[in-house]
């Protein structure tokens, strides 16, 4: 024992001695402009000792006394060796690879040299999305990519986000892009079945993302075949780099409050409501000036006699300032054989409305091993659990936002004794609930779990022939729980009720690819890259639904097992599969002329027997004009590229079994299951076909200080799936067929400028804009389709409103007026006599982002804006709180105080008549608002601690920042009732308010 101890001590001493002989080198790696290079690899030549640089380009490396040179490598830069003998501090300036010749970007199924890319694709670096106070990465993409529209329908923490790339390309099938995470096509979107919103991507920590590449055209995306029509988003997670283990820790805390409020749309006070209701009762003939007070007092006040009149601001009662915090810790590193990246994170956001919050805890691991010079093995696993509370939305009585505008200010959420008030006298059953009570007594939550992982191996069969196989799994579960207490609210009529829904999506995907590179000319001027691959995928959905009612008179026991009366016990399932063989090739002549092509033979279980497989292809061309001899004397142009592509891809975003003739159960008889034909099949049913054309020009000038890209695209989508009616004597009313057609065309422009650049000061400016025009070009028999407030008509935008045109208020008598037709020649106060007209669209004409970032010494400042112009937004529920007295028993908003009262008065709010004034509540352009807005999406002030200070504590970098998100919003329409961001269809639905967030945080690496 003693011997052992001695031995250990000796060993320790020896180690100590070794340490003593080493020394530490501090350094910074900068690019040609003096901008720090992150993640550059720094290795002592001839050894495996190394590290990689921090975000600010710094590194710290303990080197043995024998070390003479450091080898620095970084993506897109020339390799450099630096002599270090006798030096403790070095600054290394890297030279970019010649014209970025060897810069590599992420493409479908791999990477590719940037200067051979013919398609339209945009990369968003991880730094743009990490540490943002957003619950999912899709929210962080807003304004970051020209032509990518990212719109939230709800501000609920954890809510889904709609993304449209280059317009809306489908009528009845999905218009969502395909998400591919680390090479695996995943299930994404809102999969909630019980609660109002749940986003599968919210389990992914944006902090673990290294790169997001958005594929917009045929050349970039057609290789994904039948699922590429709405664009593809490739997410690559972070991986380790050889070098000493590097830790990174981020912490951020802050708070959320409502981003946009309009004083014209604040609820009335009790006095105001009294004034207008009395006026309305008299106008409606339900009261006279002499008895109106008595009628009002008898019907519109609380049953409680409070010491002072009740005046509740329900909006304040159901909203709040919510907390925000996130913590991320990662470790990465490795040696030349094995690299790893490990991370964990915690994110918590409390929404702006009571009973809304979201928590995510996640972990991530990625390990890669070079077993031999030829064989590389790797493994990724990314898992997250979420916990979310989300209330009802829309017209539900239990929706807190609805109650904020509907409940009378004369009622109090609490009784005089301080307990919750839900007496039927104040809050009758089956009417708008006291949501303060409901939030306290009911439960609506969900728990999500996602595991995304894959194993892969890559083998270099020959120097120019590589084989890669990857098997990935994307596993998601969602547990949704709802409890409605037996005393009050939605559960009262059934004696209390509880729901438990379980949703599971298991998805596996196997990709095998063979990469082949060959120089076709002895001179090396003509090179071919060829890829062939095979992919198969199976996704299985599994759904269990349970409901029980009749609960004991307590609010403690909330699970369905407690209920005495079983209501629902059901399990269903739904699967889909894809199998595809694909190939892509690029032919490169002297890096000047590049031709690319792709092909995929894709099959899907979703399609009819006769049309199960389809072929999708693309061709693309690129001319690097700046490489031409005649350009060599034009010094101010650094890069000039002309690109174009054309091809086909498909949209398979339809129901899993839409093509099949089906027998469904549920046609029950005598208590036994009966089956009956439930769906007319169409064995010819197939994907929607999208044919995108793209042409783009990339220009970089003035020593790379100014670069811009301008692109024009036109995509024709045909074979749109529509329900084609069939004569009812066939036994069915409609059959899904490939009939419709649509066109999206537009221009995108992206600009990056570095106006000032010096050693201490750097100013970056970016701007992007996208204008899209959508037209329907074919429908079933070219007949109009009325879809709610929209009309789908050939020749018009997909989201064109079909509305009676409001003509204001008749100054003589306060009646609402509408134009009789679109010519606006005559008006009428008879709603029915006015014709509906095609009116504007819910889709923006153009949108984009712009931003500035400044760095002065250790300070950085950035501000990024998002803007959206040209669409119209509908206030779906406006008829109740701004409908000239309609729904008189509900509260109103401030704007109603501008109602017409005296003859000759000019106003746009009709005379207030209790119960409604001549259909003023019915949908017309009065309820449409110009949707133009500009929003300060992100503003950040940061400070990097000086290295001299940190060195002492062995800290690499330390950065403090304060950040604001959605801090400022400008709207064109002063009457814009709610947040101008209301989803892709721009319909308000009394959703949880979108938050503005202020946070302060620190990033430390060591």
């Amino acid at each position: 024992m003693r011997k052992l101890l001695m031995l250990l001590m000796c060993a320790l001493l020896t180690v100590g001695q070794l340490w003593a002989q080493n020394r530490t080198i501090h350094g910074t790696v900068l690019d040609e402009n003096g901008k720090p290079i992150e993640r550059a690899s720094v290795v002592v030549k001839g050894t495996k000792i190394g590290t990689s640089t921090e975000e600010n380009g710094t590194f710290k490396l303990t080197v043995p006394p024998t070390a003479k040179y450091l080898v620095i490598t970084a993506l897109n830069f020339e390799r450099r060796e630096v002599f270090i003998e006798g030096k403790n501090e070095v600054e290394i300036k890297m030279n970019p690879l010649d014209s970025k010749l060897d810069e590599v970007v992420v493409v479908a199924y791999g990477t590719q040299k940037k200067n051979t890319v013919t398609g339209s694709q945009v990369s968003v670096k991880g730094a743009v999305v990490e540490n943002k106070p957003f619950t999912s990465v899709d929210k962080a993409l807003q304004g970051a990519v020209a032509g990518l529209q990212s719109a939230a329908a709800s501000g609920a923490p954890g809510s889904s986000q709609a993304i449209r790339i280059r317009g809306i390309g489908s009528i009845s099938a999905s218009a969502d892009p395909l998400w591919v995470i680390d090479g695996i096509p995943v299930n994404s979107g809102d999969v909630s079945r019980l609660t109002t919103t749940a986003n599968l991507l919210s389990t992914l920590n944006p902090d673990d993302i290294e790169d997001i590449t958005v594929l917009k055209d045929a050349a970039s995306s057609s290789i994904y075949g039948s699922r590429a029509a709405n664009g593809v988003i490739l997410v690559t997670t972070k991986k380790g780099r050889p070098g000493a283990t590097r830790f990174k820790f981020d912490a951020e805390v802050g708070q959320n409050s409502i981003a946009y409020k309009n004083s014209a749309y604040q609820p009335l006070t009790a006095d105001q409501y009294g004034t207008i209701t009395k006026e309305g009762l008299i106008n409606a003939g339900q009261a006279t000036p002499s008895n109106v007070d008595a009628i009002y007092n008898a019907n519109f006040l609380s049953v409680f006699t409070y010491p002072s009149p009740v005046n509740t601001d329900w909006l304040s009662a159901v909203t709040r300032v919510g907390g925000q915090q996130q913590y991320n810790l990662s470790a990465s590193g490795g040696n030349e054989k094995t690299t790893f990246f490990l991370s964990g994170g915690m994110f918590k956001q409390d929404g702006t409305t009571i009973a809304t919050d979201f928590t995510r805890i996640n972990g991530n691991a990625r390990i890669e091993n070079r077993a031999t010079n030829k064989l590389t093995l790797g493994f990724t696993l990314n898992g997250g659990v979420t916990d979310q509370n989300t209330p009802l939305n829309g017209g539900a009585f239990g929706n807190p936002v609805l109650s904020a505008f509907f409940l009378l200010p004369t009622l109090s959420p609490y009784k005089p004794d301080g307990t919750l008030n839900y007496l039927t006298g104040d809050f009758p059953n089956a009417s708008t609930y006291n949501t303060v009570a409901v939030a306290a007594l009911d439960k609506r939550n969900l728990h999500g779990l996602s595991l995304r992982g894959s194993v892969y191996a890559e083998y270099k069969i020959l120097d120019n022939l590589r084989f890669k196989t990857q098997y990935g799994v994307d596993y998601n579960t969602l547990e949704e729980n709802q409890y409605n207490n037996p005393f009050y609210g939605d559960g009262q009529s059934s004696g209390g009720r509880a729901f438990a829904y379980y949703t599971r999506y298991t998805n596996w995907d196997w990709v095998n690819t063979l990469d082949f590179k060959q120089s076709l000319l002895r001179s090396g001027d003509l090179n071919l890259n060829l890829k062939v691959g095979y992919e198969s995928q199976l996704s299985k959905g599994y759904f269990v639904s349970v409901q029980n009612s009749n609960f004991p008179p307590t609010t403690i026991l909330t699970v369905p097992a407690i209920g005495a009366t079983p209501k629902t016990a059901s399990q269903t399932a739904s699967d889909y599969a894809f199998v595809g063989a694909f190939s892509s090739a690029d032919l490169n002549f002297k890096d000047k002329y590049i031709i690319t092509g792709s092909f995929r033979n894709d099959g899907s279980s979703r399609f009819g027997l006769n049309r199960r497989y389809g072929n999708f292809w693309s061709i693309g061309g690129r001319w690097n004009i700046d490489r031409e001899r005649f350009m060599q004397n034009i010094k101010f142009i650094n890069q000039l590229v002309l690109r174009s592509s054309y091809g086909t891809n498909g949209n398979a975003g339809i129901g899993n079994y839409d093509a099949l003739p089906l027998y469904g159960y549920g046609s029950n008889y005598i208590g036994n299951p009966g089956s009956a034909p439930s769906q007319a099949g169409n064995i010819d049913l197939t994907w929607e076909i999208n044919k995108p054309f793209n042409v783009g020009l990339d220009v970089t000038i003035l020593k790379n200080r100014v670069s811009f890209t301008i692109e024009y695209y036109k995509r024709n989508t045909t074979s749109l799936l529509l329900a084609a009616p069939v004569p009812p004597s066939t036994g069915f009313t409609s059959v899904t067929k490939n009939i419709g057609a649509m066109e999206n065309k537009g221009v995108e422009f992206t600009l990056n400028v570095v106006p000032i650049q010096s050693r201490d000061f750097r100013w970056n400016l970016n701007f992007n804009i996208a204008a899209n025009q959508n037209r329907i070009t074919a429908l079933v028999n070219n007949q109009d389709i009325l879809s709610g407030v929209f009309i789908r008509r050939v020749g018009y935008d997909f989201q064109t409103y079909y509305a009676r045109i409001y003509a204001g208020v008749d100054p003589a008598n306060g009646d609402p007026l509408w134009y009789t037709d679109a010519t606006k020649q005559a008006t009428t106060n008879n709603y029915g006599a006015a014709q509906r007209a095609l009116y504007q669209s819910a889709s923006p004409k153009f949108f984009g982002g712009f931003g500035n970032s400044f760095r002065f010494k250790n300070f950085s400042f950035s501000a990024n804006f998002y803007y959206n112009f040209g669409n119209y937004l509908r206030d779906t529920w406006g008829s109740y709180y701004n409908g000239a007295g309609f729904g008189g028993g509900f509260n109103k908003v401030q704007r109603i105080m501008k109602r017409w009262t005296t003859p000759g008065q000019i106003t746009d709010i009709p005379k207030y008549v209790y119960g409604g004034n001549k259909s003023a509540q019915s949908f017309s352009t009065f309820y449409l608002f110009k949707g133009d807005f500009i929003r300060l999406r992100d503003i950040e002030l940061g400070y990097d601690m000086p290295k001299s200070l940190l060195g002492k504590y062995h800290i690499g970098t330390m950065r403090f920042y304060v950040r604001g998100t959605n801090l400022w919003t400008w709207v064109a329409d002063s009457n814009m009732p709610f947040d101008p961001e209301q989803g892709v269809s721009a319909q308000t639905n009394l959703e949880v308010f979108i938050p503005k967030t202020v946070t302060a945080g620190v990033n430390i690496s060591f």
Partner: protein
Amino acid sequence: MKKYKYLSVLALGASLLFASCQRNLLNPVPQTSISDASAFSTLSRIQASVLGLYGALKNGNLYGGRYVIYGDIRGEDFINQTSNLVTGSDVWALNPTNSATAVVNLWAQAYYTINSCNIFIDGMNAGGSAIAGPTLSANYIAEAKLIRALCYYSLLQYYARPYADGNGSKPGLPLRLTGIKGVGQSNLARSTVADVYAQVIKDLNDAETGLPLNYSSAYNNTTRAHRNTAIALKTRVYLSMQNYSAVITEANKIVSATAPFTATSGVANALQADITQVFKTPYTTTESILSMPMTSTAGDYPGTQNQLAYYYTPVASLGGVGNGEYSLNANGIIADPTWLPTDARRSFILQTGSGSSLKYWLTKYKAPSPYTDYVPVIRYSEVLLNLAEARVRSTNTIDPQAVALLNAVRNRSDAATTYTVASFASANDLINAILKERRIEFLGEGLRNNDLMRLLQTIPAKGSAQSKGPNDVGYIWPISANELALNNLCTDN
């Protein structure tokens, strides 16, 4: 090093091999529905399909409610109270348009049921019969044919000229007899009324041959077709065709020669001593030859605004369970002095209010929400009255057995009235008494329209609704607008 090379070559080979098998993935097997091909692959699936046919017939738009309701409200014995187009105020006023709720939905549901029957018969012929065996297969196909016949017969009553108008030479219905499971079979012209009736009779004849004599439970004897069901329906169909000798032939198969009249083979169908028992739980007396059963299980009741009790009984505050869509016409059959106050069938009438708000309501159906009254399709008393009328009309005499049959129905509810041959001055008097008895006996059971139509009688005026003679627009319904728009060969009435 070599081992890796082998390993990867192996992996490559394996993956290519695996890849070729992957195409199997693309044959989807849904788990909440079954593909039509597999609907007949096991006996239990076949049985579920049979139940599905009844389920379709029982739909609230068809025999679960609305078909029966329209049959009464077209007649003169009900008054519309709510002026609601959704609950058939236009049907009542005899002016529904091509796109009226009633016209469009009844057409669609009846044809959905017909197509279900067609698909079923095709499926059985294509392989289901081999799995079910000859006996069950014959039973099931017979049930499908009976349901199909009932649907075609029912459609004829609203959408086509009565048989009596030109002996069935007028346009009938598109006669679809093969299952449609996909696109491309839209256009089909209307066959003549006679052709459709011929098909109905053919199906019922086949059903008579194929159906079982009876089932093991009273429940099934009322809710599923047996041999007597086919025969009973034939008496109704032949009566509508004015083929009285055929009515007699068919009725005699299930009506004994002398009172008490009962079916002597198959299910022992007979009148109940107390008619109110027929409309009570368990609803499965031998008088109910076929009824549509309802339970409170989800999907097993008529559904919103389709329920008989919802239409005919007043709101709860007035002692009903429904919405009071239709009250009884105070000047209709209930005003008939020969319908005595002591008649048990008067117990189905509820009187509310007084003075100007005096109203009468039919409470034959009274189960509260979700309205689980069984809906009668055909009762034994109808067979008796069908036979009685056919006997009088075919002989044009005061037929003694016809009188006995009429008495059987009248006497069981009204002991005070007994008809004899001497009660009637002429054959016509007797016919009128039988027709009146039908109005009393089947009030609220949907037969009034059929009786008016088959005799080409004028539909009398009631309340604010005007009368419609056989040549007036509105005497029959127009054809569904959806059918006309999409079936190029279909013509309107």
